[in-house]
Each structure stands twice: as C-alpha cells, then as structure tokens.
C-alpha cells in the first residue's frame, strides 16, 4: 500500500528543482520541510519551545539546545544533531516524535544534509519579501505569461497544447468573466470574424457587460460572509443587500482594487465619506450577530471583532490569523500580541457586537450602526415623524406606558422606517476602546493592554498613515506590502485556471504550498500594482490595481486559450495541470450552473441589483430545524423573483439553499475564500429533477420549436449548438434523435403524463405546441442541460 513518504518525495521531485542542480534554495526546499515537521514545537511560538531549540531563525537554530547539542553546525552535517535525530532508529530519540505521525523521506533528509553542508543559509519567508519584477524569459513568447509558462514547460520536457476551437474559447471566456454562456449569435460572430483582434473585441465586450460585475461579486460574497440573516439559533433576517449592490457596481465601474479595499475597510474614515463609501464599509458588518438568550455580551463582542481580524487576514493577506488568537502562531512569525494589536483596529465601532434590533432586543432587522438609505424627501419625512414622537414623549410624561398618541406616533415612525432601505455600516466611537491580549483567546481573561499595530515581520504602516482602520487599509495596499497584490493576483489566476499559482490560496504563510511559478506570481503582482504592459479595456488605459485589465491580460494569453484536452501522458505527468501544458477544464459553480440554465432557456430576468429574491426551494427547508424566527414558511416569489441570477437568492445561514450547498457553496457563517469542487450523485439528482431545471428544460424545448426549425433533427442540432456552443457530431445527434423519437411514442400514448411534465414550474407552457411533443422535447432539453460539458467550462 502506498505510504506518505513516496508521495512527498514525488512532490519534492515534481516541484523542486532536480537534486542534481547545484545549490539548495532555502525557501523552496528547506523552509517547507522545517515548517511542516519541526515548527510546531521548535518554531515561532516562543511560549511553547521544546528543549530550548528554535529552528525558524538562524541565530536561534545555531545555538546549542538545552542539552548542549548543536542542531545545526554550518558546513558540517556530520556534526549536526538535527540530522542524527531525524534518521535515528530509536523511538525515544527520533524527530519528529512518532506520535506526530510525520516522517521525513530519504530525499528530504538529503536536502537538509546538502543545505547544512552548503552553510545552512536562511532566507526570509518568500511571501513576506516585497515582490521584485523578474526578467521575462527571453525568446519564448511575446506575452509575458506565456514566456514564463513555456520556459518552465521546456525545462519539464513538455509542450503547450494547441489553441482551443473558437466556439470553445468564447464559451470559456464568457462563462469565466460573466458566469453566463454566450448567445449563439455571439458565438457565430466570433467564429466568422477573421479580422485581427477578434478575440480581444469579445473580451472587451464581455468586460463592459453588467453581468461581469454580478459574477465577480458572487465570489466576493463568500469572502465577505454575506447573508440575509443574522446567523445563530433563531437566525432572524437582516438587510444588507445595498452593500451587495455597491460591490456589483464597484466591479462594473472597474474601481481599482486598492480603492475597493480602502473603502470597505475604512470608507467612513476617508476625508470625504460619501454615502457610497460608507455603504462600502458594510463589508465588516456582514459577520453574524448572536442574539441567543443567555449569551454573555462581552464574549460575543470579542467574537465579532475577532471575526473581522480573521476575515481581513484571509481575504486580503492570505494569513491564517485565526491560528494566533490563543497563542503565538506555530508556523508564521506572528505573535498573539500582534493578533490583538490587529484586533485593536476593529474594536472601536459604535456597536454592542451582539444582535440588538427592535427595542434593543434580538429580532429581525439591522443592528446599529445603521445607515438609512433615504432620499431627501424621505429624510424630511423621517425628521417630521421623529419630532412628532418627541412631542408626544414630552406630552406623555407621567402617563404610564405612554399615551395613545405616543404609541401611534411611534408606530407610524416604525412603519415608515421599515419602508426605507438601510444597511449596516462601520462607525467609530469618539473614544477608542482599550484592547488587551486575551489569554488563551478567552474574552474574560484580559492580559497586557495593547495598542494598534501590524506584525513586525511585515513592513510598518506607511509614512503619514493614521493609526486607525484607514491607516490599516492603506498599509494593506501600500507599495511596500508584500502580500495583498500576490494574494489577489493568485486568486484571479485560480479563478481562470482552476488552481492558484499558490495552491493554498487561503494561506501564504510558512505552511503554504511553494508557488509552482514564483517568478510569474511576482511578476504579475508587481505588474498589477504598477502596470507597464497591462492592456487598456474598452479604450481606458490600465490604472494601478486595475481588475479588468488584469483579467483581460490573463485571458489574452495563449496559455489561457489552450485546448483543455487531457492526454494520458499529461494525466500521469501533471494531473492537476499545474504546469499548464493544456487549458484548464473544471465544473462551473452552482450559481453559474443555475444561471446558465435560466439564460439558455430564456427565463433569466437580467435585472441587476436590489433586494434578495426567493426562487424555488422545497417547502419546509427553513422550518425543519427551527420553529421560530421570522425566516420561516418560505414561499417562492411569483414572477421575476424566480428567475434572477443566483447571487440574489435570499440566504439564511442556518438553512442555506440546498441546491447551492450541494454544489459546494459555503454556508456564509464565516469567511470562505476557497470552495471545494465535488462531483456527487446528489448534484445529479438536483440537475435532473429540481423544478428550476425541469422548467428551464421545458422553456428551452419551447425555444427549440420557435427557433430551431421544422424537423426533429434541425431542432436537436439547434439545441445542441445553443447549449454546448458547438456543432453536434453526427453520432451525438443520433443519440439524441433516437431518444426523442422513443419519447414521442411514449408521450403520445400517455398524454396525461406529458401534461404533468410540461406543467412543472410557475411559467405556463406554450399552449400552441402539441403537449406530447413538448414533453418529449422537454426531456431532450433536460438531457442537454445535464451534459458534463455543459456544466463544465472547457
């Protein structure tokens, strides 16, 4: 049976330079070994050092341990106790200890030996050094991405794949950038367009579509833990959709990523805090709010602030700050004290940190600080109603329970306020709250008081930056910040290629996977911050941190445009396609699968923005696990609400839409920066039987009749082309035609069943079409919408 060791060795061989190459590179070859196998006990957590030995920094590693032995003697591996211990056959001596279930391979030991022999040189962790722009490998290809990738492929003895067919390419890039398929007309136009720049024109057109912003916002909602409920226990509703609108708009107007960042972290603290900028700060009010009876407010205030720290770390910095709330980080040079210095930026919002809506009690609605989004007329009205309440209050002094006039005035004000949209935002208190190190991360064990600060292993706040959230945000996007640009560029890469240059896109610390193309990653990070070759998009030249320009740049590369055919050799050599000797091929997200079906069927309602809607969801999903709270008794919308894009679906955290959870959507209870991509029978059941897809199949079948021509074969060919983007091969169309004819037989004999099928869904079946035929075609459309290639972007 395969054991751990050969696989790790395989990893080392695949992604490290061959051992024959002179010189061991510390960050690439040694740090990952030390981090994985040693740091937990001999690493940066200074309070938990075993045997007085620290291996994460050279000055410590060279000192004798408590026993007097020297773990590392530079240049003298035979005298280095570290090597003796890791190959020891004695269970009491061997390192790591057997109970850790880690064992180093022969290849890894050889690397360590060579490293010590060569002088045991350390390097600072790669992700904490500001990226330098490396030289693009010359003579490979005009596009820098291709140059880097091809130089590496050459080294590995691989060749790039040919370009994908035009139909495949336009479908791929349209789905990648908008989450929707191209129309047949768009496909045909691109296939026919022989003028130079045809593909670039497609990309520009797509980047200008509002659907682009919606699709990009969808992923951002995962990071932001956006939901329409407060979370916990009864899970009452809240109203944060105006913030979601802000995100969509920010992507569509191509707001630079640095401004996007600063406004969400600290829009309220900018010199000119416009309404838009304040709404942006809703990012850090998207966390859950606990209103459970019996909770201890201090505890949940702390959890609220900690959520902001952890979310910021994961989303922008690729740091697992959650690992140092209770103790120093075991792998990264970040202390618990620094965690709480980071905490100190976020703990002075004018809030309780718990759920307080109606009458200061837990219930449905938004919790202060809240920004009402009224028009000037509405604001006037609100002021009038407020002054009426005040008058009634002074008039009713002494009257127990308040006069009827007071009750009426209050009720009217409340009703009015409920009709005005509002959004939860950040708003600082006058006086900051004192922060403390919390011992073992526990809310009721304050230790040393701390002020605001950033980890010492990263650059300091920029010159002149204020010591508040605004300064922190500026620090996150400063030129000197080594993490943010790399992390974001890696995320964009992950989105387009299926897996990041750094596979552990959630973690750029010492335990991160070594980047498969570090030079390319750094080049892209620098280019993103200070563009020199990023293209203009729709006539606008690239700005710094230009999101559309970055996307366009990547999709224009030949690497992106490669065919995604897998050969057996590639499956053996590079099954996860890290080297990119072929185009990426992977399943669409659950949201894109649904949106695509709606688009292809013609049912999609393209309206952008606004309150969340209620598409189909099985009865009782909200009620099975709770019998109180206001998010119960789910009734789907009638009309347009059923057919909006999935990012608008109302989201209750404790009972999230099952059709999305089945497709790996996170519950939105906490920040999630990466989704798994599963392949399960429950997904199959959903795509075959869920009313959304059955109705979409029927609507698509109706289109087949209206637009597909007069014969079965014409209609099937039309539908195949519309749904997959390509012409069906004769063998494929034959399969479909055979199935259709058999069904026609069946349904003509069972008109009742046919009628039942086409009645699925809220929209009415076209009465001019013969019922059995429509039913038979509905199942043909059902087949097409279930094809692997349709729910995949190829």
């Amino acid at each position: 049976m395969l054991k751990t060791s050969p696989l790790c060795g395989f990893v080392a061989l695949l992604f490290c330079a061959p051992l024959a190459q002179a010189g061991v590179a510390f960050n690439r070859d040694i740090r990952p070994l030390l981090s994985e196998n040693c740091f937990a006990c001999h690493g940066p957590d200074k309070d938990n050092i075993k045997a007085g030995l620290r291996l994460d920094q050279r000055e410590w590693a060279l000192r004798p341990a408590k026993s007097g032995d020297r773990a590392i003697v530079p240049g003298k591996p035979e005298e280095s106790e570290l090597l003796k211990r890791i190959v020891s056959g004695d269970a009491d001596e061997v390192m790591p200890p057997p109970k850790e279930h880690k064992q180093m391979t022969k290849e890894q030991v050889a690397l360590l030996r060579q490293w010590i022999a060569e002088g045991a040189h350390y390097e600072g962790h790669w992700a904490f050094q500001p990226p330098q722009r490396p030289v693009v490998p010359p003579g490979e290809a005009p596009h820098p991405v291709d140059a880097f990738i091809r130089a590496r492929l050459k080294k590995e003895g691989l060749a790039p794949a040919p370009e994908a067919a035009r139909e495949t390419l336009i479908r791929r890039v349209t789905l990648d950038l908008t989450g929707l398929p191209p129309t047949s007309a768009e496909v045909a136009a691109f296939v026919r367009d022989s003028r130079p720049g045809a593909y670039e024109r497609v990309v520009d057109r797509i980047l200008a579509a509002p659907a682009y912003g919606e699709h990009m916002a969808q992923q951002w909602l995962d990071f932001a833990r956006y939901a329409d409920s407060n979370g916990f226990q009864a899970d009452y509703s809240r109203q944060q959709w105006p913030w979601r609108d802000w995100v969509i708009d920010s992507f569509n107007r191509n707001q630079p990523f640095d401004e996007f960042t600063v406004e969400q972290i600290a829009g309220d603290l900018l010199p000119d805090p416009t309404r838009s900028r304040v709404v942006a700060t809703g990012f850090h009010r998207n966390h859950r709010l606990n209103g459970e009876g019996g909770l201890i407010p201090e505890e949940w205030f702390v959890e609220t602030v900690i959520d902001r720290v952890e979310t910021t770390g994961l989303t922008w910095l690729g740091l697992t700050l959650n690992c140092c709330r209770c103790h120093d980080h075991k792998y990264d040079p970040i202390t618990q004290k620094e965690f709480f210095q980071f905490f100190a930026f976020f703990n002075s919002v004018d809030e309780t940190g718990t759920l307080r809506t109606e009458n200061g009690k837990a219930g449905a609605g938004n919790t202060d600080p809240v920004l009402p989004l009224w028009s000037p007329a509405e604001e006037k009205q609100a002021q009038i109603l407020r002054s009426r309440v005040r008058e009634a209050e002074s008039a009713s002094v002494g009257a127990k329970g308040g006069t009827p006039e007071l009750k009426a005035a209050r009720a009217e004000e409340k009703k009015f306020m409920a009709s005005v949209p509002s959004v939860m935002v950040m708003k600082e208190r006058q006086e900051p709250r004192q922060a403390f190190v919390l011992k073992r991360g526990e809310y009721d064990k304050p230790g040393e008081p701390v002020g605001r600060g950033v980890p010492a292993s990263l650059p300091p706040l920029p010159e002149g930056a204020p010591l508040n959230r605004l300064g922190l945000a500026q620090w996150m996007v400063a030129d000197t910040q080594p993490l943010t640009a790399r992390v974001w560029v890696n995320r964009v890469w992950e989105r387009l290629f299926g897996v990041g240059i750094v596979k552990t896109s959630e973690n750029f610390g010492a335990q991160a996977e070594w980047p498969v193309h570090l030079d390319l990653l750094d080049w892209l990070a620098v280019e993103f911050m200070r563009p020199s070759v990023l293209p203009s998009v729709n006539g606008a030249s690239a700005s710094r941190w230009d999101r559309k320009a970055l996307l366009k740049f990547l999709v224009l590369s030949e690497t992106y445009r490669q065919s995604s055919q897998v050969t057996p050799r590639l499956m053996e050599r590079d099954p996860e396609n890290r080297l990119l000797a072929r185009g990426p091929r992977f399943r669409l997200s659950g949201e894109a699968v649904r949106d695509q079906a709606l688009a292809l069927s013609g049912l999609l309602v393209a309206k952008v923005g606004g309150p969340s809607v209620r598409p189909y969801m099985p009865a009782g999903v909200w009620d099975e696990t709770t019998r109180y709270g206001d998010l119960r008794g789910y009734k789907p919308d009638q009309g347009g609400g059923l057919y909006r894009r999935s990012l608008y679906t109302i989201w209750k955290r404790t009972a999230a839409p099952p059709s999305m959870l089945l497709f790996d959507a996170p519950t939105r209870e906490i920040c999630a920066v990466k989704r798994s991509r599963s392949n399960t029978p429950l997904q199959a059941l959903s795509l075959l039987n869920e009313v959304t897809y059955v109705e979409a199949a029927r609507a698509l079948a109706q289109r087949m009749f209206r637009e597909g021509g007069a014969t079965h074969s014409a209609r099937l060919a039309w539908a195949f082309r519309v749904v997959t983007g390509r012409e069906g091969l004769p063998g494929e169309l034959a399969i479909l035609e055979k199935g259709l004819l058999a069904r026609l037989e069946s349904y003509r004999q069972q008109p009742g069943a046919a009628a039942d099928l086409i009645a699925q869904g809220a929209s009415k079946a076209d009465p001019t079409l013969p019922v059995p035929d429509l039913a038979a075609y509905t199942l043909s459309a059902n087949v097409l919408l279930n094809l692997d290639e349709v729910i995949t972007r190829e």
Binding site: F10, G294, D574, R578, P618, L685, A755, Q760
Partner: protein, 488 residues
C-alpha cells in the same frame, strides 16, 4: 480508449465511483499514476487519504453508529443521576462552595437566589446491573443491562449553539467538519446506494420556541463537501430532488440517463478528462438511489407488531419514533453514520411536565430501536449513543414549587448513555457530588467521547487528519483521551 481507461474499467463500479481524481489527489499535489489506483482502495472500495496509511487504522468494533442526539439538554438529575438526599435541602440557596464561581448564563445570572430544586421524579434500580433510571423512562430502563451510563460528562460551552457545535465538530466556533463527515472522509460508504452519513431530525411535544438546530451540525466544514451529512427531510420527499418530476416514469428516466451517459462517453473519448467518467458514475448512483431510498423509507412492509413496538408516533413522518424505525432500516443497509436529532429538551421552566412529554416522545422508540438491533444481531457491531449538549442546573430557574421548577444550562456535569459495539454492558462510569453540580470521579470530556467513538470505528483520532490552512486538523483538536474504563 487509452491505457487509463482500461485501468479504470478494470475496477469495479464501486471502486470507480469511490475514486475520483480529486478524491485522492485533493490535497496532495503529486501525480499518482492511475496504475497505482488499485493499491489505494481498501476492501470496501473507499478512497483513502494519501497522507495516511489506509483506513481503518485497526480492526473496528463498530461498523456503524446510531447517534441519538437529544437537543436542548436533558436534565440529568431528573432522569439518570438521582440525589434523594437533596430533598432535605429543598429551597436552600446553592452554596458558593459548590458553585465555585462557575459562570452562569445571562438567563439566571440575574437571579437573587439559586434555590436547590430536588427532582420530584421517582428512581429505581433496574436489571442485574442495578442502573438507575427515573420513572419517566419505563422502556429505556428495561435495557439497563445493555446501557453504559456515563454520569461524568463535562463541557465548557454554556449556550446551545456553541455547545451543540462543539459536540458535533470539536469546536464551539463554526467552520469545522462534523463527526459524521470525519467518518465519511475516513471510511467512506459501505453501501453503494446510500450516503455514508444520514441525518434525521424530529420535533415532538416540545414547545414551539425550543432550540433550533442548523446545517452546520452535519456540515463538512473544510472537508470536501461530499462528506456533508445527507439530511432526510421530515416532511415531503426524504431526499431532496430524489423523485423524478411528475410525468417522468422510471422507464423515461432510464432512457434519459442512457442518453446522458452515451453523450458523456462520446465526449470523454475526445477530451480524456477522468472527471467525466466520475460524473457518469455519479449519475448511475443517483439512479440507484431513486430506488434504494424509497425502498428504505417505505415501512409499509413492516409487520404491525414491529410498528407497535415503536409506539403510536411511528406513523407520523418526522417523529422521533418514525426516525428510530428508519434508523434500524438504515443500519440494516450498512449506512455508517446515522444521526437523529430530537428537539425540545431545553426546560428552563415547567420542567416536570415538559420532561414527561419529551420522554413520551423518545423513551419507547429508543427501547424499540435497541431491542430490534439486538434481535437482529446488529447491536454487536453498532455503536449507539444517547445524550445532549450539556446538563442542567440543580438550582431552579424561576420559581420553585412543590410540583414545578425550571433548570438552566449546566456544563460541569451531565449524563450520556452508550451501548453496543465495544462498550461494556450494564456499566456506570463516573459520579457527581451531592448537588449534582460537580464531578467527583472519572470526568469525561466531549473530546474524550469523540476520540472513543472514532476508536470504536477503527480509527486513531490523532491520525485522522486533514491539512487545511497549513495545519493538520482533527476532530479532537489537540485533546481527547480514550475512555478505556467503558471499553469492552
């Protein structure tokens, strides 16, 4: 057809289904040739984590678990842990020497006094073991010689959401995988037509605003989402989207699946991506589930005598009794982790009457389930667990009268019951002090219980890990000791 096709085709359908490229390459960046595939499958055809030696780590005692979670926290002193001598202290303020500064929830921390509320239930010894149960459990007490009772459970959480989350995921804070998904990840499914992890929820006599539960309790956390618990719904279709739409019979559905399969195979011949083959296999599994699940949930073939054992509620879908019957049927079909949640135990007030209702909901069906398992020879390799998220306070929440009292949450001691595979029979472990407030003997923590459950399933809790955010996470975090005193 390429060489990898032939290797894949040489595997049984089960093995092909169990292994998708992602399943076993999910965390390792290495390129395992498909030729190595066969070696990575254990005898049940389940994929194993390449980071670990094949699972299980050692021979399991239990092939399956039935976890009967009693949500809301059953009152231990009114059911399992009698303190008759407390009657003489009725109404006295709980001494500080007993409370020892324990943090109270916001619901009672404002009380001026904490009057001792002795249980008004009647206790008796049962069976050869003499295990004590209150009169509210006439049925479960008949199995006194099968149960193992742990009176010394303890936890840190004092409120429901974090406490149940802690029991199920090993952390009070959201984001970690549940016990069932760890087991699914480690061992896969023994039944090729049903999921490895099934969840059944029920309401009974509990009050309308008793504690809810949440998807996260059976969620997969950071494990691949296929390991999330499959919740059988308590109304309507048991599994979502299982039934074909109206107007599509099995024949028509089979035909469409043949078309989808045929087209997918044709496309695979062009694209070569093994994910396509996995998808074909998953569609076939879906088709099989469309028969296997209704077959499972259709209890009309059960003899009347069997149904009667579970009590009158068995006919009401979504009742605890109906779920217990389903649990036995799931066990017969080798579903590995069967978890029931019965809500309504959170008795802050009106406890005596409410507790009676909860026991009426659960006592007889639990007995029926256990007896059936015994009779069918399933108890020997099934682990049964019964309990809630924490205990209740000996002092009354709200007014104490001769006949009525309430109890607040109490993390420091509570009782759980286990039975079946690998568990000593008729055993009582642990003891609490005279006030049923502190543990005096053999404390057992939530992590210890979870470590023991994994152990009985054949897994070392310290070796069942998943690398996430650079750390090898496990269900028991860095804690958990086996409860050796109860192991057979």
């Amino acid at each position: 057809m390429n060489c990898n096709d032939s290797i894949l085709l040489a595997l049984s359908r089960e093995q092909r289904e169990a292994v998708s490229r992602r399943t076993f390459l999910g965390r390792s960046a290495s390129g395992i040739g498909l030729a190595a595939l066969g070696g990575l499958l254990n005898s049940a055809g389940a994929a194993v984590s390449p980071e670990e030696k094949p699972l299980p780590h050692f021979a399991p005692k239990a092939k399956r678990i039935i976890y009967l979670f009693q949500s809301g926290a059953p009152s231990q002193m009114d059911l399992f842990d009698p303190k008759p001598q407390l009657e003489s202290r009725r109404g006295e303020d709980l001494p500080g020497s007993i409370r020892k500064g324990q943090r109270l929830t916001g619901m009672t921390s404002g009380q001026k006094t904490f009057p001792v509320a002795p249980s008004i239930m009647r206790f008796a010894e049962h069976g050869q073991s003499g295990m004590q149960f209150s009169h509210l459990m006439p049925h479960m007490s008949r199995l006194a010689d099968d149960w193992c009772m742990i009176r010394s459970m303890h936890t840190e959480a004092i409120n429901h959401d974090p406490a149940i989350t802690f029991f199920q995921t090993g952390s009070q804070l959201a984001g970690r995988p549940s016990l069932g998904s760890w087991i699914s990840y480690g061992l896969g499914s023994d039944n090729k037509d049903l999921p490895a992890f099934v969840v059944l929820t029920s309401f009974g006599s509990g009050r309308k605003d008793d504690q809810p539960i949440y998807d996260r309790l059976w969620g997969a956390g950071f494990l691949p989402s296929k390991h999330q618990g499959g919740k059988f719904r308590n109304q309507g279709q048991p599994v979502l989207y299982l039934a074909d739409p109206k107007g599509v019979d099995r024949g028509l559905r089979r035909q469409t699946l043949d078309e989808i399969g045929g087209l997918n195979r044709a496309h695979h011949a062009v694209m070569g991506d093994p994910e396509i083959q996995t998808r074909i296999a998953q569609y076939e599994m879906a088709f099989r589930m469309q028969s296997s699940v209704p077959e499972l949930t259709d209890v009309s073939g059960e003899p009347q005598s069997v149904l009667e054992r579970y009590g009158p509620d068995v006919k009401r879908p979504g009742s605890y009794a109906a779920n217990c019957l389903l649990a036995r049927r799931l066990a017969e079909r080798d579903v590995r982790f069967i978890q029931l949640y019965h809500m309504g135990w959170d008795h802050h007030g009106g406890l005596p009457k409410a507790l009676e209702g909860q026991c009426r909901d659960t006592d007889q069906p639990t007995w029926a389930l256990m007896s059936e398992l015994k009779e069918r020879g399933l108890l020997e390799d099934t682990l049964v667990v019964w309990g809630g998220e924490f205990g209740r306070t000996i002092y009354s929440q709200g007014a104490l009268t001769e006949t009525d009292y309430g109890r607040d949450h109490h993390p420091r001691c509570f009782t759980m019951l286990l039975a079946g595979a690998g568990i000593q029979r008729g055993k009582v472990l642990g003891a609490t002090d005279d006030y049923c407030y502190n543990i005096t003997q053999d404390p057992v923590h939530v992590h210890d219980l979870n470590a023991t459950i994994l152990h009985l399933m054949g897994m070392d809790h310290t070796r069942l890990t998943f690398k996430y955010q650079g750390r090898n996470f496990r269900l028991t975090d860095v804690h958990g000791e086996l409860i050796r005193a109860i192991l057979a």
